[in-house]
């Protein structure tokens, strides 16, 4: 599956390892939360990086203490209408200061890319036919924000009342 990372379509360097499949000896892998918890030590000893997949009913707090070991936190959208991952992404960035990749997996509408970007997602697994142009158009469609969020984008309020220089 192609990956849109920072707006660029790239070959995904990471491999999702389903829960019932053994973790390969090398290569960056993304594993489920349960496995991460059970095999944390051995996963940390691998020389290639590891990431964790969270379901939408997990919370950012579930991995808060592990973030230094994680190259990716992948947040699931089981349906585009399930908005829990937005909160989890913001908490990862804003509360826990996570700097690694936050990627969206699952069902997404193009018109949600901007919300994702604002909440701290920097990567997105997309369908074969998705294009960089679509990402760009979607994230530039609206340029005024009322809410402070994880991207640090200037809000309408900050533009109206610039801090005294």
């Amino acid at each position: 599956m192609p990956l849109l990372k920072d707006g660029k379509l790239i070959e995904d360097p990471w491999t999702h390892i389903p829960d019932e499949v053994a973790v390969p000896a090398s290569g960056p892998v993304i594993v489920g939360l349960k496995r991460w918890r059970e095999e944390r030590d051995s996963l940390c000893k691998r020389k290639d990086p590891v990431g964790v997949r969270l379901k939408s009913n997990h919370t950012a707090g579930d991995v808060a203490d592990d973030l230094e070991h994680l190259g990716v936190v992948a947040l699931a959208f089981p349906a585009f209408t399930d908005g829990r991952a937005y909160t989890n992404a913001r908490r990862l960035r804003e509360r826990y200061g996570y700097k690694g990749e936050i990627r969206a997996i699952g069902d997404a509408l193009r018109d949600q890319y901007l919300f994702m970007q604002r909440c701290g997602f920097d990567a997105l697994e997309v369908r074969e036919n998705e294009t960089e142009k679509n990402w760009q158009e979607a994230t530039n469609a609206i340029t005024v924000y009322y809410q402070p969020a994880a991207d640090g984008g200037k809000t309408a309020l900050q533009r109206r009342h610039p801090p005294a220089a």
């Binding site: 919370t59 908005g83 937005y86 909160t87 949600q112 340029t143 005024v144 924000y145 109206r160």
Partner: protein
């Protein structure tokens, strides 16, 4: 009123272009109806029984005459020449065409309006007191805070896909006119012991199939923390609100399942982490917005005021209208005028394009060019000089908008029901019409006094029947329309949920049942006692006995 600055305007313009592109893609077949549906819903475009329906947001119900004329123009050009005011102070058009929807939104943007988030599982139109800024005992103008919340809640990146829709109301008066306790979040402007103005925050009220009254989650919140507190509360709801069952997804169910104390604890924890962050409201911004709602230059009461007094003595129809539709104003020499949209000629809340134009003209002449929509589906002129009342009454009468029934039994809240709505179980508009005809005698209505009758066409309760002194709910019994009656609901500061009085009535019998209820009340009321007070004093028994003599006889 609030005027967009360049940023507000740009957002709405950009949104129009985005939607235009989506509609073009849909018409060209590049996206399927399934993919398009969430996009159109996010712009207020529903597919109803017979056609599309566009719901236009009117923030806290306030319209300038320029905006109202635009709505008239849109209704005439793109629809069938009328619009329908809803219980969220919005306006619905019942017959727009898909390919024209982007033009409509572009026209709306020209007058600082839009239809964003009038649908979908996010914040709906923020409502406020229709008497804001002019009510005599008001603590502070609720429009200021509704506007601040409007901006924060528009296209919120984190909360655009909540478990379910989310409704917020703000009231600044001890006397609640917003049904604040029936909102997901109700905000009541209050003074604390130190005399500081802030907010009481209520949560978990709602109608629908599980009606609940909002509970206090915070007794006093300082002004500058309003948005951070709301953000904390919404964050807990976004994470914990149920998503497995649409009927259990509103925040009221979360409040019920967790308990208010537990929810309060979770919210406080979250809030403590973010309250001093960028959501803390700077005083400059509060001032910038407050200034736009500053009171006008009041004029001295004119001697001509006496003229109105004289007319009142001479002209009983005018006197009736003044007594019923006109309310006291905080400013001497001024009055608040209610325009009734409950006439015998049209469904409750409907206005024609000609009436909209006429109202816009009158607002300019008599009320500083501003009209307000109420959640009870009427309109308000908030700045009328008493000296002008007689002229205004005559002009309203010509437009068919001077029916003196505001707050009386024929001032019915009514949802669109089976005449329009795809979810309906039964028709509601014809029932409202038949009840209004039955009680058309104004003297009788006045004798009955204040009585709120509310009708919903299905359990979703858009017609607020749970909060009606008399509530009527349409149900479907093997393809036949039946109506269940509840008594004792109330949407004011002493909110209560109506109780089902007994078996449902057929469409044929429901008006007679209302008649029986009203007659029972008239027979047993004490001197000067309003319907709701009588009901609260005597309970349901006397009404039951008269409504279901067979049942009560058998039990005896």
């Amino acid at each position: 009123m609030y005027h967009y600055d360049e940023l507000d305007q740009r957002l709405v313009d950009e949104r129009v272009e985005q939607f235009r592109d989506q509609v073009t893609r849909r018409i060209a077949g590049e996206i399927t109806e399934d993919e398009f549906k969430p996009l159109r819903l996010m712009n207020g475009l529903y597919l109803q029984l017979h056609a599309y329906m566009l719901r236009i947001g009117i923030p806290y119900g306030v319209l300038s005459s320029v905006q109202l004329r635009k709505l008239a123009h849109i209704a005439r050009t793109y629809d069938r020449g009328y619009g329908h005011f809803t219980t969220r102070q919005c306006l619905q058009l019942n017959w727009p065409k898909l390919e024209e929807a982007p033009h409509i939104l572009a026209e709306l943007a020209e007058v600082q309006m839009h239809a964003i988030q009038t649908s979908g599982n996010s914040f709906r139109n923020i409502t406020a007191d229709q008497y804001a800024g002019v009510a005599a005992n008001e603590i502070e103008d609720s429009r200021i805070w509704a506007e601040i919340i409007r901006q924060w809640s528009l296209l919120h990146p984190e909360f655009s896909f909540l478990p379910r829709k989310f409704k917020i109301a703000v009231t600044g008066s001890p006397r609640d006119r917003t049904a604040v306790k029936f909102h997901d979040i109700g905000i009541v402007i209050r003074k604390n012991e130190k005399g500081e103005v802030g907010f009481e925050i209520l949560v978990g009220g709602g109608m629908g199939r599980t009606p609940m009254i909002g509970q206090t989650i915070r007794a006093f919140l300082p002004k500058k923390h309003l948005l951070s507190y709301l953000e904390a509360l919404l964050r807990i709801y976004n994470l914990m609100g149920r998503r497995d069952n649409k009927y259990k997804a509103r925040i009221k169910i979360l409040v019920f399942e967790l308990g208010i104390e537990e929810l309060q604890k979770l919210v406080e924890d979250e809030w403590n982490q973010i309250k001093d962050g960028p959501l803390a409201l700077p005083q400059d911004e509060i001032d910038r917005i407050s200034n736009q709602f500053a009171p006008p230059q009041w004029k001295k009461p004119q001697a001509a005021r006496l003229g109105a007094e004289v007319q009142r003595l001479k002209n009983p129809a005018f006197a009736d209208w003044v007594n019923v539709n006109v309310t006291g104003h905080k400013q001497p020499g001024y009055a608040i005028v209610n325009l009734s949209l409950k006439t015998l000629d049209a469904p409750p809340g409907d206005v024609t394009a000609e009436q909209m134009d006429g109202i816009a003209d009158l607002a300019e002449r008599y009320s500083l060019g501003e009209t307000r929509a109420t959640h009870e589906q009427n309109l308000v002129f908030a700045y009328v000089q008493e000296a002008d009342l007689y002229q205004l009454w005559r002009a309203l009468d010509e437009l068919g908008l001077a029916t003196p029934n505001v707050g009386l039994i024929s001032d019915i809240i009514c949802c669109p029901g089976l005449d329009y709505c795809a979810l309906a179980s039964a028709r509601s508009i014809p029932v409202a019409e038949r009840i209004s005809r039955r009680f058309r005698d104004l003297r009788r209505q006045n004798d009955i006094g204040g009585l709120k009758l509310k009708i919903s066409g299905c359990v979703n309760a858009c017609g607020h029947h749970h909060a009606g002194h008399i509530g009527i709910l349409g149900v479907d019994r093997q393809g036949e329309e039946f109506y269940q009656i509840t008594l004792g609901g109330s949407a004011d500061e002493n909110a209560s949920i109506g109780k089902i009085i007994g078996p449902a009535f057929s469409s044929e019998d429901v008006v007679e049942a209302v008649e029986t209820i009203v007659n029972t009340y008239v027979d047993i009321r004490e001197e000067g006692e309003a319907f709701l007070d009588t009901y609260r004093r005597v309970g349901e028994e006397p009404f039951k006995e008269r409504l279901y003599p067979e049942l009560t006889d058998a039990a005896a």
